[in-house]
């Protein structure tokens, strides 16, 4: 095959392919930096603009590309790939797309290298510029910053597309940018991009390196050079305080607790949190204003503090929901210390009012009916206004006095020795059985009322 090509042509072709590969990488990476690209046209040729296109050369990118190529050229069976992935501030990552520069065996012997191939490669680069703005990753990359950044990885050898989608979901779509026939083979440039943008759960850090079986594994975080987010944020995943990224902040399964990450993962069947061309607000909107790192355990349990009543000395203690399952648990036996601090149980210290409740529910006051407070006072004859001084046994004053402090209801009187609430509940079935037996009596009673 090569014998048909003149040495000069072969040399030119190799040079074209090499620089085409380097420029391809530049275009792809620059399109994912998150900024608008603008280069100037120049009517006078500078001599250094390959393919007559003004494409800037970012040195780090060139360095990475050359490192990946390691002196070789893309050829048949040797593809150059640029993998674009997304990494959140918590350290979760997801592959978005893979651009492949490949060569197949179909040769075009008659084509002129220095002219037609060169111009067609230039056209292919223009097509690449256009297509890089069309795939879903472009919109994502324009919005990168605090929540996530876009990374690239260049590798050489066999194309790996397994990271673009797992399981039964539609894995990826392919768009062909273009082809250029050459005397040694046909160069093809294509992009495989993920269609299912539902965020997958975190990969353990140890797995990340092993997952790539490519020849070169130079995952380069381009954030320090190119991302809009400050470098410090990327260096310490997790320590930043768990600002949630584009996924809605939902408590995920408790199993995540061992990863010690904020509740940031979603099961697979959730609605994709990352837009695929629509609803691009999703990733920005779920940002929590709470800067604290929320551990899964905190989120699952609710805690609250009892409000402190006026004039209470001790601060209210925390009560968990578990302890409040029983109705009227506040009135339950004094196994709980909270009772002492509960303003409902221990009323504010006001001298004048003496709530009957205080007397009966307080441990000291149990068993006594209503008038302990009055023992501290001197009994004064109470002459109610406008009442006649009758000889009737029940005058207004007596009536008033008697009914001012009514005796406590027996059911509210709680004694340690008396039946506990639990025992009461247990005896309910028996009571119900008795009532059922006497159901006819009750029905007759109801009829009399009507």
């Amino acid at each position: 095959m090569d014998s048909d090509l003149s040495p000069q042509d072969k040399k030119d072709l190799d040079k074209f392919i090499k620089f085409f590969a380097l420029k391809t990488v530049q275009v792809i990476v620059q399109a994912r930096l998150g900024e608008k690209i603008c280069t100037r046209s120049s009517s006078s040729p500078t001599g250094s603009d390959w393919f007559n296109l003004a494409i800037k050369d970012i040195p780090e990118v060139t360095h990475e590309a050359k490192k990946a190529l390691a002196g070789q050229l893309p050829g048949i069976g040797r593809s150059m790939c640029v993998e674009i992935s997304l990494k959140t501030s918590e350290g979760d990552s997801m592959e978005l797309e893979t651009w492949c520069l490949e060569m197949n065996e179909k040769c075009d012997k008659d084509i002129k290298v220095s002219y037609t191939v060169y111009n067609r490669l230039s056209l292919l680069l223009k097509s690449l510029l256009a297509i890089t703005r069309v795939t879903p990753a472009y919109k994502l990359s324009r919005k990168q910053g605090h929540d996530y950044v876009i990374l690239y990885r260049i590798y050489f050898g066999e194309v790996q597309l397994t990271g673009l989608g797992e399981g039964n979901h539609a894995r990826f779509q392919t768009v062909r940018v273009g082809v250029v026939g050459t005397p040694v083979g046909t160069i093809t440039l294509s992009c495989a991009y993920r269609t299912n943008l539902a965020f997958m759960s975190t990969r353990a850090p140890a797995e990340e390196e092993g997952g790539y079986t490519g020849v070169e594994d130079s995952q380069e975080v381009c954030t320090t050079s190119f991302s809009t987010s400050p470098p410090s944020q990327m260096g310490i995943p997790g320590k930043e305080g768990g600002v949630p990224q584009q996924v809605p902040v939902q408590p995920c399964h408790a199993a995540q607790a061992e990863h010690a990450r904020a509740s940031s993962c979603l099961p697979n069947d959730h609605v994709p949190a990352v837009p695929s061309g629509s609803g691009e607000d999703a990733e920005a909107s779920s940002r929590s204003t709470d800067g604290k790192s929320v551990s899964p355990r905190d989120v699952m349990e609710t805690t609250f503090t009892r409000k402190v009543g006026a004039f209470v000395n001790k601060p209210g203690t925390q009560v968990t929901t578990a302890s409040l399952d029983l109705p009227f648990a506040a009135f339950a036996p004094r196994a709980y210390d909270i009772e002492e601090n509960d303003p409902m149980v221990q009323p504010p210290e006001s001298p004048a009012t003496s709530s009957p409740l205080q007397g009966s529910l307080h441990s000291q006051g149990s068993g006594e009916s209503g008038v302990p407070a009055q023992d501290d006072f001197v009994m004064v004859d109470f002459k109610p206004a406008f009442s006649k001084d009758d000889l009737l046994p029940m005058d207004l004053g007596t009536f008033y006095r008697e009914f001012q402090n009514p005796p406590q209801l027996a059911s509210l009187t709680i004694d340690v020795s008396s039946q506990s609430m639990a025992e009461d509940l247990d005896s309910l079935p028996e009571k119900l059985a008795v009532y059922e037996k006497n159901i006819d009596e009750f029905d007759a009673f109801v009829d009399t009322l009507q």
Binding site: K36, I37, C38, T39, R40, S41, S42, S43, S44, P45, T46, D49, N52, L53, A54, Y115, R120, L123, L124, K126, S127, L129, A130, I131, R133, V134, Y138, K139, R142, V175, R176, V177, G178, V179, V180, G277, S278, G279, E280
Partner: protein
């Protein structure tokens, strides 16, 4: 030589017409422009450099790349603006709620010099017809959906354009210095697109072109 003809169709809302047309026309021109030729002695020439620019659309969720040439951009914007005005005028004339249809044609041609007294011939070698269907939307929610949908559609159209261009079918031969104006538009300072012209046609919902409607109106008037 046969002229290659490609048709692209999009449905957009009134205020998206400008940007949608710009996006597609500029994408095509990006592929059909080269740097300025500088002819040297012995019939060789060197080519200038073409810069590119990212443009974000305001009314569509879409970004596209165009050639970095303000002159070229001005020319295209003027043409697209006229097209949009015609579309809107027709919609206003036909009343509210009617959808309009228009077509913008981007034609690449070669000039063939003829002897006097015949004028030069323009032979098209590639014609892109972009059919636009202008819809009216009722509320903001529909507009928001339209933004995203049109963005996706334009993305598909860009892929179609790239597909056609990468078939590497006929392109005019690179001309000599004397012939360059027959193949390229050399009027711009920084880039050199192939010779092109933009024409448009507006139709109402019935599919008849405006000129036909006008003709009918005049005939009816004269018949009275």
């Amino acid at each position: 030589m046969n002229c290659r003809s490609e048709v692209l169709e999009v449905s957009v809302e009134g205020r998206q017409v400008d940007e949608a047309m710009l996006a597609l026309v500029h994408t095509i021109l990006l592929h059909r422009s080269t740097g300025k030729f500088h002819y040297k002695k012995e019939g060789t020439y060197s080519i200038g450099t073409v810069g590119t620019q990212d443009i974000d659309c305001d009314f569509i969720d879409f970004s596209f790349v165009r050639v970095s040439s303000d002159e070229l951009d001005r020319v295209i914007r003027k043409a697209v603006g006229e097209f949009k005005d015609l579309c809107c005028a027709l919609q206003d004339a036909m009343g509210n709620g009617t959808d309009g249809m228009g077509q913008i044609s981007l034609e690449f041609y070669q000039k063939k010099k003829s002897r006097w007294p015949f004028s030069d011939e323009c032979i098209p070698w590639e014609v892109w017809s972009i059919k636009v269907n202008v819809v009216n939307l009722a509320n903001e929610q529909e507009r928001q959906i339209c933004r995203e949908k049109v963005g996706e559609k334009l993305g598909e159209k860009v892929i179609n354009i790239v597909e056609v261009i990468n078939r590497h079918e006929y392109l005019p031969k690179m001309p000599t210095q004397s012939e360059v104006d027959n193949v390229f538009d050399t009027s711009l300072k920084d880039v050199q697109p192939y010779l092109y012209k933009i024409t448009f046609q507006i139709t109402d919902t019935l599919g008849t072109s405006v000129s036909t409607t006008m003709r009918r109106l005049i005939k009816d008037t004269l018949a009275l």
